[in-house]
């Protein structure tokens, strides 16, 4: 069990002390990623996707954050108990990240080559098993990875500044930088969101192909349901700091069962036409006065009295399909 999962999060709670009181952002997250699996994390603005990601990357400073958890392990190691030095080593070699905005993630005053060399050298220093490589070796590795992300004329691009590249090319450079040290786990935060749809399509296909070939596990964070459906194998739907549903993407998108997932999917305009649904009534709650129990209950049309009293836990309703909703757990209890 231990070894099957590259990432295993169990009962993760994150609070922030703010002026208004305590902002209770993550309310018991369960999330796991098997080796070589591509997993999506979907939710709307402010649902806690980024906080989850930052916790996993050990980027949350405590204080102000207060983190309580049963387990947050990456490759069998507790990330949150690592020393800064250990963490740095893991970050450069085991985990990589691709950020949303390729312009901000690259340093405008260094060339692509210089930034790529840095990444390669960083990993070599941390992985003491190899000798210090020569500049030529580093350069060759840089060229090889740029070729792999299908950038034309890699020699020239090495000498370019980020400003001289288009958005799609910058995103390719970022993918190259994320993959050059052969990580086993990749976190992609809204990749390609800033790009045009035809370019986004190319980038996502490239990313999918590269991680598949290397057997890298991926956590893809996105608000775009279509992107998640097309690039991942399994997805988690998040609402206001709670995981409400998870299943393999085909199952999840064809047969959503949680009222939030259903509402969300109905709001997505369809390529086959037809009316858009009314959306979901109400608004995302304020985390300092988050609703009790299931956080979706004030907006839910099927809300029952138990919903506000106790938080539903993720329950299996069919193989691989888990949902946190009393509509289904009650039904099951009655059947049994």
């Amino acid at each position: 069990m231990e070894d099957r999962h590259i990432l295993d999060i169990q009962d993760l709670h994150v609070y922030f002390r703010v002026y208004e009181g305590v902002s209770y952002v993550l309310d018991g997250i369960y999330l796991h990623i098997a080796r070589g699996e591509r997993v999506g994390l979907v939710g709307e603005t402010g649902c806690g996707k980024t906080v989850t990601m930052k916790t996993v990357m050990g980027m949350l400073k405590s204080p102000p954050a207060i983190i309580r958890y049963d387990k947050v392990s990456l490759d069998g190691q507790d990330i949150l108990k690592m020393s800064p030095k250990e963490l740095l080593r893991v970050k450069g070699t085991k985990i990589s990240m691709i950020f949303q905005d390729p312009m901000n993630a690259l340093n405008p005053v260094f060339t692509v080559g210089e930034q790529l060399y840095d990444v390669i050298r960083f990993a070599q220093k941390r992985l003491d098993n190899e000798k210090n490589p020569s500049q030529k070796e580093i350069h060759d590795r840089g060229i090889a990875i740029l070729k792999e992300v299908r950038l034309p004329d890699p020699e020239r691009i090495m000498g370019n500044y980020p400003l001289e590249l288009s958005g799609g090319m910058r995103q390719r450079v970022l993918i190259a930088m994320a993959l050059v040290n052969e990580p086993s786990f990749l976190i992609a935060d809204e990749p390609g969101t800033a790009l045009d749809v035809t370019i986004q399509d190319q980038i996502l296909n490239l990313l999918k192909e590269l991680v598949e070939n290397r057997g890298i596990s991926v956590l893809l964070i996105s608000h775009n349901l279509g992107v998640v459906r097309e690039t991942t194998e399994r997805a988690y739907i998040m609402y206001a700091g709670q995981i409400v549903e998870t299943a393999p993407v085909d199952l999840l998108f064809e047969n959503p069962v949680h009222p939030y997932t259903q509402g969300l999917l109905a709001s997505v305009p369809s390529l086959t036409g037809g009316e858009i649904a009314e959306g979901i009534p109400g608004m995302v709650p304020d985390y300092t006065v988050a609703p009790s129990g299931c956080r979706f209950h004030p907006r839910c049309t099927h809300s029952m009295s138990i919903c506000s009293e106790k938080k539903p836990s993720l329950t299996m309703i069919e193989p691989d399909h888990y949902v946190a909703c009393y509509l289904y757990t009650e039904q099951k209890e009655q059947n049994e």
Partner: protein, 334 residues
């Protein structure tokens, strides 16, 4: 059908690129190059394209934010750029615009009441403070907000609510035509759904015409009745929505539709095959010769790089600008 409310003829808008020691013109960006289309009354006309295609430039030219390099725009039979001062007043009352980002299109230092009051004062639509207040209440009700939002400031509102205020401001002067420039692209899908429903309801209740600008094809599919597909300043395909999605004829349109990430199996099946090679969108400052899409098109040959194809009506109401359109028509029939 009904007569066009807005006619755009051979619209051209070039932006100069300046540089050098004396800041002289060293080139131009052909943002909009010879565009013609018309919008019928009570119609939602969609303009779709990727960044740099010139769709926003068209929107802004229609409301007189930009002055065209050449070509003309006629609104209700009158040339928009050659109208008398008096009629200009009428034009500004008839044509309104809603922008993409309501955070920057609303003044953060003015309350909602004062934001919505201005157009009423300028166009003398309400005689005194009392009737203005009543009108503002009605406007807020129209966009499904309660009247106590009047005393709030934009920073107190969520993105969706701010966009509702921007819509209310456009509606304040009772226009007949609204340019919507990516009105929901800054919003979450569940909020987008509500704003779109609101816009659709207002359109049918108030008999408005919209020019709906967006990069989101699935959204266009639900909203627009006719769609023009733009690429680097030109229209490459124009057709009624149903027809465009059922039978896309330009390789770019096909590529664009097939690139949309979709959520269901059903949508996956209606996607046409891609007809493009991997590559970047060329810069509008230096577009490829001939058909601008030839650098990425998988059907392209010699003639495509030499000669710009004409926008031809191939089927009733379905216009395509492509040398090899016959290939795609043939494959559609199979």
């Amino acid at each position: 059908m009904n007569e066009p409310i807005l006619v755009v003829e051979n619209l051209v808008k070039y932006f100069p690129i300046r540089g050098g020691l004396f800041h002289h013109q060293i080139g131009e960006v052909k943002a909009v190059d010879d565009i013609s289309f018309n919008i019928k009354s009570d119609e939602i006309f969609g303009l779709v394209g990727e960044s740099g295609s010139g769709k926003s430039t068209i929107g802004k030219t229609l409301v007189r934010i930009y002055k065209p390099t050449s070509g003309n725009i006629r609104f209700k039979g009158k040339d928009v750029f050659h109208i008398a001062e008096k009629e200009l007043f009428f034009f500004k009352k008839e044509v309104q615009m809603v922008f993409q980002d309501p955070k920057s299109s609303l003044n953060p230092r003015r309350s909602i009441k004062s934001t919505l009051e201005d157009p009423l004062i300028v166009h003398k639509l309400a005689q005194n403070g009392h009737s203005r207040k009543k009108t503002i209440k009605d406007l807020l009700q129209m966009v499904e907000l309660s009247s106590n939002y009047m005393y709030k400031y934009p920073s107190e509102l969520s993105g969706g609510q701010r966009q509702r205020i921007a819509i209310a401001r456009a509606l304040a002067v009772k226009p007949s035509f609204i340019v919507l420039d990516e009105p929901t692209s800054a919003l979450d899908v569940s909020v987008q759904a509500k704003i779109i429903r609101l816009l659709q309801r207002l359109q049918s209740e108030l008999q408005l015409s919209y020019l709906f600008i967006s990069h989101d094809l699935s959204l266009m599919r639900t909203v627009a009745s006719r769609i023009a597909v733009m690429y680097l300043g030109r229209i490459y395909e124009l057709a009624p929505t149903e027809e465009l999605f059922r039978n896309p004829l330009h390789p770019y349109t096909r590529t664009l539709i097939s690139a949309v990430p979709v959520v269901s199996e059903k949508e996956q099946q209606v996607k046409p095959t891609k007809q493009s090679k991997e590559g970047e969108i060329p810069s509008p400052a230096n577009p490829p010769s001939g058909c601008a899409f030839h650098s990425r098109c998988s059907l392209a040959d010699q003639i495509c790089s030499e000669q710009l194809p004409e926008l031809v009506e191939v089927i009733q109401g379905h216009f395509v600008r492509c040398h090899h359109v016959s290939l795609n028509i043939a494959s559609a029939k199979l």
